[in-house]
Every structure is written in C-alpha cells, then in structure tokens.
Symmetry: C2
Subunit: 676 residues, 2 copies
C-alpha cells in the first residue's frame, strides 16, 4: 500500500475543461462516398460545378412553342400550330420549333431550338388534317396540328438552365452537417464523394487484471468481472462522432502498459484509459504518462471522478520513417484522458468532459436534446463542498403536456452497473448547494441525446410473472427493491406503482390494481437428498440454508411461518432461527437462493416453485402468497398506469395456453383462485 | 399522350396512412454483436444469466476482517489483528481470515473465506513485530499486524454477489433502444451479441431514362440530370432505421421494370420507386403493380404528392424453392410505395407517410426533436382545398431564449433541388385554411431530427467574396435572389441582412454593415477575338450577348451605363438594347454568362473581372460597383449579425496575402479605395 497515490490539490472542473481544450485531437479531413456521408460535417465549401438543370427544361407536359405565336389566343379563338415532332425526357431534341409550329414535350425534357415556352397539355386540343376545330378522334392517326387555347409568355413552364443552382454558386458552406436534404443537393450537382471532417480516432485501453471481455468465460472465484467501460465508452465515442478503437486489456505491468499506450498513441488522436478500480493499475498509467508524455492534470474536484488524468502521450518517433503511419501530418503527440473505473463515474466524466471535446474535434454540434428541465420529486441533501454530478432517473408524468419530468436521484454506489440503466442523466450540483428541495427545477444533462424517460416507474418485489407483464408495456422502468422498500418509496411520492408480495405492516395509501398468487417454499437439490419435508427440517436438520433479505415479501412469509412454528413449539422465533445455519445469509433476487443450491453452496434455499421447477430442483411447498400491484392514488389516471391496469386485467385471464404467463408458470394462479 | 393517366378520385391523407399501415414491412429480428448494437432496439427481454458481481467483492482498498473482531474498536483503543496475507483484484484468495486476523484487500478483489467486512485503509495503521503502537516505518519489512481504528458491521464495504444484478433478474425489456448505458449493462452481464429488431430492407428503384447516377458523366443536351431522389431517400431510410438497397435505374420499358421491381420485392421488405417526373414511366410502374401485385391506392389529395402509389408486389414463387432466399419466413409479398418525382415532394411524402412506417417496423421511436413550434414571419395565403405540406425555412432569432423560431414558406417550385437545403421542414396546412397570418404559431415537422435552423438569414446579390465571407460564419443561410428582390424581402421582415450590389431605387430602412467593391464589365473569349473595347461594341458589332436578370445589381449597372451611352448618342435606351442580340437572354448567377462564353454559346457576357480571370477569359472593364451589406434595423443586436459585422470589419482589411479574400480576388478592393 506504500505506493498509493493520494489525490491532494484537486484541480477545479474548469481547469480540467481548460486542460482538455488545450489538447489537439482534431483529425485530418477525409473524403467519403456520398452514400456514407449522412451525419458527417463538410470540411470545405462546395460550389456548384455545373448548372442545375443543365439545360432549359420543360416543367410541364404539353407543347413547346414560340410564345409570340400564342399571343392573343384564348378559349374562343385558339392559336393553331403545326405539330412538328416530340421531345421526351432523356433524349436530344431532333426538331426545331419554327414560327407557327410546336413540338410535344414531356416534363423534364430539353426545350427544342426555337421554342421559349411550354403550353400545358390541359390548355390544348389535338387536331388532324382537314379538322380545324375538333379534338382528335380515335382512328389512331397522329394529330398534325394543335389548338392552343391560352397565351403564354416567354419562359412559362420552362426552368432555365442554372435556375435551380448555377455553376459557380455557393451550394453548401464548410461546417454543414449532412442530412438527407444536403445529400440531395450534392446529388443534384453530380457529386458522389465529399470532403468531410475526420472522425477523431479514440483508442480505448482498459486496465486491470480482473477484467474479462464480454462473451469470454468468467471465473468469479478469481474476482473476474466483465469489462463494462470499454463497450460503454466506445458507444459514447461513436455517439459523439468519434471512431472507437479497442486495445487489448493491460494488466498492472509497467512495460506492457507502456507498449500498449504508445501503440494507441501512434494510431489515435485521443487515448482513453478506463476500467480499473485498482490503485496499482492507475499508478502504472500515471508513471507511463509522466515518463512518455506530459501529465497536465491529476485529480479533479468533482464527485464522481476524482481520479481523472489529463495529459499527452508521445508518439513513436520511428513511426513516420518506417512508413508505418498513414498520416504524415500527424503531430508528435496524442491526447490522453484517464477515466474513473466505476462505470457510472466513467460515463459521467466521459460525457461531461470528453464527449464535448470529441464533438468539437469532429465539428459535430451539441445535440439539441442533450439537456432538459425537470422537477425534483424528492429533496436531496448534499454537503461535501465538491462539485457533484448526481445521477438521476426521470419519469415523464405528462408526456404530452410539455411539463417537466419528475427527477429523482439514483445512488446505488458508483460500482453498480445497473445505475447505468436506472439513471437517465446527471444533475450538476454546485459545491455550495446543501439541499435540493422537492419540486425545485433542475437541469438534467441526458446521458445520450436519445434517452427517453420511462413511461412508468414501478418498484417492489421481484417476480417472474411480473417480468413478463412488464414486457407488455411500452418503456416501463422497474426497480426490484423488495416489497417493504417499494411501499416506502410509493409513500414518498416518486414511483407510480409498488409491487408487494405477501402481507406487510406498512400502511400506505394506495389503489390496488390487481395481481396473482405464487407458491413459495424451500428449494432443495434434485431428488431432495436430505429429505426435507417442511419448515421443521430447516430447524431440526443440519442443513446449510440461503435466505432472502428482510425487504423481500418471500422473507416476510418465511418469518410468518417461523412465528407459527415457534408458537406451536412454544419457543421464540429467534430460538428457531438460531438453529438455521445460514438464516442470516441473504441473497438478492428470487433465483439467487436456487442458484446457490445448484452450485452446491447450500442444501436449501428460500424460493418459488416456478424457479425450482424451471432450474431442475426439487421443491417443498410452504404456502401461496398474493402478489399485488399498488398504484399511487394520484397516478391512477396516467395513461401508463391505465395501460398497466388493462394488461393486468387480461393477464393470466385468458387461459389460452403457451402465451399465458400465469398458466405457464408453475405454482402461479389468478388472485381469485388462491388460498394463502 | 393518349396513355396519360388522370388522377381522379384522390384518396384522403388518412386513407393513405391506413393503406400504408395495412402493409407488412416488419423484418425478422436478428442478432448483432454488442459493439454494433448502438441505436438498435431489443427484440426480446434480457434476463441476467449471472450474478453481478459474481462474488462478494471488496468495494474499498483496505483490510478484510471478521466484523465481530472490530466491535468496540475506536481511535483511542484500536483492535489489533494479525495480517495473514493479501488479496488483489483478479486473483483467487489464498488466505482464510480466522478470528483475530485480517488480510490486505484491493478494491474489486474477492472477499477471502472467513471475512465479512472491509476496513478502509485510512482507518488502519501498519504495525511490525514488537511494535504495538506505531505506524510502520521505512525499513522495508512487511508489517505483520494491523491496528484497526474503527468498528465495522458485517457487509461494510462489501458488495455481495448479485447485489448489482442477480441471475434471473429482468435486465432489459423488449423494445428497449440501446444507448451506451444499456450497452454497459449488457457488457456487465457478459453478453457480446444481442437479439434486436431487424432493419427493414428498403429497395430504392429510380425510374426515368433521363437520370444519371452522381459521379457518372452527364449529357445535358440529352436532357440528362443527376438522380437526386435515390440518395436523398436512402439517407432518409437510414435515418428512420431502415437499410436502403439501391437498384439500377429502370427506363420506361415494361419488361425491364417488371424484372427490376420483382427482384427488389424478392430482396426487400419495402420497395420505393422514385425519381421520374415522366408520366410514361409512372404509367409503366402502375401497370406492373396492377399485374404483379396489388394496387391499394393511386393518388392522394395532398400538395405536393398527388401522384403517390401504395400497394404490394408479389415475390417470385420459385425463390424459396431454389434456396435463393435466406429468409424462409418471408411472406409472399413486399410492400410498395411510389413517391413523386420532384425531390422536395418525394422527401416530404417520404417523411410524412413512409418514414413513420419504417420506424414502426424497426420499432424505432419517433425522434424527440422531429417537431418544433414556430411563428410565421409573413402571411401565407392558400386556397386549393387540398391538404398542403408547405416547405418552410426557419430562423432562430433568439437561440438561447427558447422562443419559437421564425417560419417562412419556401416555394421555388417543387422541381428545385435547392429547396431541399433552403427548407428545414414542413407545415401541414389543413384543406380549409385560407391564410396563415404573420405571427401565427405553427407546428413544423423537421425534415430530419438533426435539422438545426440557421443562425443568420441573408438574401441578395451573389458574389464570390461574399461566398468566402459566409464560410467564416457559423451556420448561415444565404439565398442569392439578387439585390432588388433582396431589399424587398428585407423590408418584409424575414431576413437579417440583404446584400446589394450597385445602386438601387428601393428605399428600405436598414443599417449598413460594410462591404467592398468589385470591377464589372464584359467577359469575352480568351484573346478577345471580336476586339470588344467597350459598351459600344455590344451595340454596334454583331455579337451574341448573355445578360443577367433585372434583379441583379450587375444588370442595374449595365443599364445605367447604357442610359449614359444613350444620352451621349441622343437616343433612347431601348434603341440601343434592341441592337444587342441577347440583351433579353438572362442567366442566373455571376458565373453563368462567362460559362456561356466559354461554351461558345455567346460572344460576350455580363460579368466580373474576378470570374473572367479565374475561368481564363478576357475582360473589358466598365466600372467598379460597391457591394454593401444591409442589416434589418431590429436585427443588429443579434449575435449572428454582430458576428457578421465583426467578420466584415476584418474582411480584406489585413492585406496579409493568400488568405485575404479581397486581396486575392481580381478586381476587388475595400470600399474606401473604390471609385465607382
């Protein structure tokens, strides 16, 4: 521990921004095919090199005429012109319109020589030889004269060459972001590749011996975890307009880290290291940057994110000589930022400090929807005297009203990856703010421009039927915090609904929307080797048990059953629980005890018949417990709550077989069928 | 013209929406690597298959202890524990923490057997043998005892296995759009590929013999134009979440069109035809759909877009048998929509009717920014009794105030591709609306969610120095409509500035921001073969001339010079102009007359010295004319107008050589140097 680096003299967030601004991470412009150019930014002005259209063009179907020949013509006294030919789009006119003549012409065709206007076909009649007054008949002969029933002026229904855009005119300016519309104009100019600002190449180096790439095998007994930051930050880099490049994991070895960082520096405009929570890995990086680059800043006074590094990394000098670099204008340094190790911290620091720099280097504008106003749903105290980037969740109570969404803090500890999806953005809390009041308006920086607040916020018990019910709703968010904590939060006014299993002491004003019943009991290995036959076996046999926490409705039902047993035996409940090995060993979710049993870490676990049967265990039933959905009284009129009630009404009620969630889950029944 | 198909019995827009809703264009779900999953939509619920973390994990650097051993410890009376080993992140613990002992532990490491809590390193001191009271010194020996200066409870600074997310818990629901945050959670679960909704495959068939693909050679004499719709619509398809597939151009031949449409139907979920303005090409498509599919609707009562087709196309029956299809669940039909030929019409109809269907098939949500409120800058009359999708431009007068942008109609005729970039979106005007008043609030559907209104709207003369000046501004829009029309629009209150060349009769209240001077005259072929030596040559020699329109400041200066010449000769101006062959032949932009001269279509043209010299022509000077930028008096305080004034102040004033736009353009000078 003697190498531990202390973060004294933390830099201010403004100093961190300045340090990042001082880095050069702008790539060279590049040329891309027009079909790949959507969302890119023009690197230079595009002037039209051709006239569009490139010729005087008929803009109506009709007849090309000399306008002077039609002067004075009207419905009563049409002008009669000899029809001398036809011009179609995509062909060269082979006629000349002399005085007194006309030529049939299609929209988009080249105006023939001599003609200076088009008469719409609707204002003409076809005539045949010897037929001076009547529309053409059906004998199949081509008409040879045309009666024009209107006068036209020169230029009528003709788009002259260059009238849309003329050669030499400024078509699009530098810095223009290319949407389908600009791509359309470039197509009209015949341009099939365009000079655009380059995408900054961002190398992502994840550090820490404990990290395993998603998809590879994980050995939890060695403390391995999947690498979250690399893919998360890579997606953030893409979103900001950069091109992420993954590098292999680096361990804590100095030489390996140096080799890796220099390779990344050679190939990238910016190198991000991220992933390790290990002080020794951070320390190795620190030493490499100091030796092989320039450390501008170490540690920022912001929560989360203190352990942030900003600097530059030297590129290999030999690289330009041996032709290994494909970009000779590259400077001798790459920008470097070290992100915190915890995923929510890393993403927060990335989007606050790094994404703006990537966008600026790519010349991409700040997304329009990146910041929204919201209203605090609960009060939040804070008093650390350090700028805080507080992760928050959103709930859009009135999606169509334009009123601000409800904002609530999400604080599960920054090590939790689930905070990533339970938070929608960040509220910046100034160092001198001690409390944010409920109802106060706050500005939320969304994690991504495409974040959409959930339609419904539910909290409470975890349950497999509930999981299926949620699938039928549009964009719900559900926090499985247990029945007891769920009711507490419902009372505090943030969620729409709480899901409660079994009985509860808590009195919370709510509206019951409905529910179902589930069979609970003791899960034991296949074949029930210890011959468990009820609650008494847990107390009286030497079994390793796995319990659920007191927030869970399952635990409450177990404790109620233990109370009954204690009463029957005339002892206190704690006398019984003291004899259950593992009564205090609690795990988090409805499947967790079963998995401990399967893994051989326990002989029995608290669980559901559904889970036991699905995972191939034996099950000793102890009872049925109701699962009930409670809505906050002031939320029952919300569309999302009505939608939930409507799904609930039909849920498990059709008995129609394989799609029916109640009928297909072992031990489940509709509420009205249950005992208790 | 006898095959012309009339659009009688136009369907209502609602009927068109219903017809499109009745089409099935949803693709099969697919599995993609997590690194490519950003922006995709989950096709099914993802439950956690593992506990995260997968082990009881230290969440601080410090010492793993049995909590009971620390009970009662404080700063005054620390608990002393034997140090029995160390556990680092990424390795399997090789120690057991027995009562009275502890093990050094790093953040993220596996809790060793026996330990149930972690003491932060900050609350401990290292001790060495025989040293019962003092922090460890520098002799390099490992400490063998640790003094713990605080009591901890079981579970303190430990994240238990599954505490973040437990195996079996619902991680993400179907329909979830994957942003960096969801990608982070999926990474934590070790998932490296995900089931997502497919992208609808959208075949794009462009029709019309006159269309040439951008990048290929164009023959304007044959009436060829570049194909705008294919790339524009393809970009729109991508933006809506579909995958565009280009097919070769089809001409007007029935068999070729049938072959092409059936191939596209076999390979795609939706076929869009687009591109032709030719009635005969539309007619061929109509016949193919009727013969080889099902035409649901032909013609919609909407402006633009009457000639819209909606239907289905049969797939080849043999395809599934010969193994040519890689998707056996494909139904026997593909959806089909025929778009109008003009680019703005095609894009408008696409985004109004087709993009929502593609988004729904891809399960992509409607973009949050796709519709904004604006305020009409001018009144607009309309009275055709047909739903109108009116293309409009936007100007964000107060970008940071949140007040609605100014909205103005863009109506250059739907054949103009420049409308694509001059319009930002569409206002839907109900059939019974006769007038939209200035100041009225309207809802603008943006062409793309990433449309951003320009910061500055300028109108007026076209000028090469102005083009360079605009490059120095952030997101300006400039409409080169000529000096005269520019002043008229400035008076009407929409643009910020008008650029005026030469003198003008129009009295418009404005603030002059500055400008420059440019030399104008007669452009003739290299070497001046006709020995043009002034204005008199145009009148007295037999030269084919090319003029600019009366809106142009260049034309105004020419006419003033002709007036002078007429006065000197004691004739009227029209007596002179009647003798100039081509005086009435006007072209659009400052380069256009010069290009006619170069092409041999004219012997002399009205133009600038700058253009003549740059394009290698000879030049006969007739004078200098000022180019002045006029700001609307109520806009001079806008940031964008100030930025323009500031750029203008330094423009051409530094005389610093190659980057200086005034010094490098032939015939240009700063205003204070010019004569006239």
């Amino acid at each position: 521990m003697s190498d531990r680096r202390e973060f004294r003299d933390l830099a201010t967030p403004d100093a961190a921004r300045e340090a990042i601004d001082s880095l050069d991470l702008a790539p060279e412009p590049e040329t891309v095919p027009l079909t790949d150019a959507r969302g890119r930014v023009l690197a230079e002005r595009i002037d039209a090199a051709i006239d569009v259209p490139g010729f005087d063009r008929a803009s109506m179907d009709g007849y090309a005429v000399r306008a002077r020949d039609t002067f004075g013509a009207d419905e009563v006294d049409p002008a009669e012109l000899d029809l001398v030919g036809a011009v179609h789009a995509g062909s060269t006119p082979d006629v000349t319109v002399e005085p007194g003549t006309c030529a049939e012409i299609s929209t988009g065709a080249v105006m023939p020589d001599g003609a200076d206007a088009v008469v719409m076909v609707e204002r003409t009649d076809e005539m045949r030889s010897g037929d001076s007054n009547e529309a053409g008949g059906g004998d199949g002969d081509r008409p040879d004269r045309i009666a024009v029933r209107t006068a036209v002026a020169p230029g009528d229904h003709v788009m002259s060459a260059g009238a849309d855009i003329a050669a030499g005119a400024r078509a699009l300016g530098p810095g223009t972001r290319l949407t389908p519309r600009e791509i359309g104009l470039l197509s009209a100019l015949g341009i099939d590749e365009v000079p655009v600002e380059g995408k900054p190449r961002v190398g992502i180096v994840s550090t820490g011996d404990e990290l395993v790439r998603p998809g590879d095998d994980l050995d939890p007994s060695r403390g391995e975890i999947y690498d979250v930051n690399s893919t998360t930050i890579a997606a953030g880099v893409e979103e900001a307009g950069g091109e992420p490049i993954f590098y292999p994991h680096a361990g804590d070895d100095y030489d390996e880290m140096e080799r890796l960082l220099r390779r990344a520096a050679d190939e990238c405009d910016l190198v991000l290291s991220s992933g390790s929570t290990s002080a020794s890995a951070v320390d190795v990086i620190y030493r490499v940057i100091e030796a092989r680059g320039d450390l501008l800043l170490h540690g920022v006074a912001v929560k989360p994110g203190k352990p942030m590094l900003i600097g530059r990394l030297d590129r290999s000098e030999s690289d330009a000589d041996d032709g290994g670099s494909d970009d000779e204008s590259r400077s001798g340094e790459s920008a470097y930022v070290g992100l915190p190790g915890y995923p929510v911290s890393a993403l927060t620091i990335f989007r606050t400090f790094v994404a703006p720099a990537i966008r600026e280097a790519a010349r991409q504008p700040e997304p329009a929807t990146a910041t929204i106003e919201g209203r605090m749903g609960v009060a939040e105290r804070y008093g650390e005297g350090r700028l805080r980037l507080m992760p928050v969740g959103l709930l859009d109570l009135n999606p169509d009203s334009g009123s601000p969404p409800l904002v609530y803090p999400v604080d599960k500890g920054s090590g939790a990856t689930t905070s990533l999806v339970e938070a929608d953005g960040v509220v910046t809390v100034a160092p001198d703010t001690e409390v944010l009041d409920a109802g106060e308006t706050v500005s939320v920086q969304l994690f991504s421009p495409d974040v959409r607040p959930p339609s419904l916020l539910g909290v409470g018990e975890d349950d497999p039927a509930l999981n299926r019910l949620l699938d039928r709703l549009d964009a719900p968010r559900y926090l499985p915090i247990g029945s007891r904590e769920g009711l507490r939060r419902l009372r505090d006014g943030v969620p729409d609904v709480a899901v409660v299993a079994g009985t509860t002491d808590r009195e919370v004003d709510s509206v019951e929307l409905g529910g179902w019943s589930r069979e609970w009991g003791i899960v034991v290995p296949e074949g029930n080797p210890a011959d468990v036959d009820g609650l008494a076996s847990l107390v009286d046999c030497d079994l390793r048990f796995v319990n659920r926490s007191t927030d869970s409705g399952l635990r409450r039902s177990l404790d109620d059953a233990l109370d009954d047993l204690a009463t029957r035996r005339s002892v206190s409940r704690s006398e019984l629980t003291d004899r259950i090995d593992g009564y205090a060993h609690t795990v988090r979710a409805f499947e967790s005890p079963v998995r401990r049993v399967i893994a051989g870490d326990a002989d029995a676990g608290l669980g559901l018949r559904e889970t036991a049967e699905r995972l191939g265990c034996a099950f000793v039933a102890l009872g049925d417990q109701p699962v009930t959905i409670h809505a906050a009284p002031d939320r029952t009129d919300r569309d999302a709550v009505r939608a939930l009630a409507s799904v609930l009404e039909n849920f498990g009620a059709d008995g129609s077989g394989e799609d029916d969630p109640i009928d297909t889950l072992a031990g489940y029944s509709r509420n009205d069928e249950t005992g208790s």
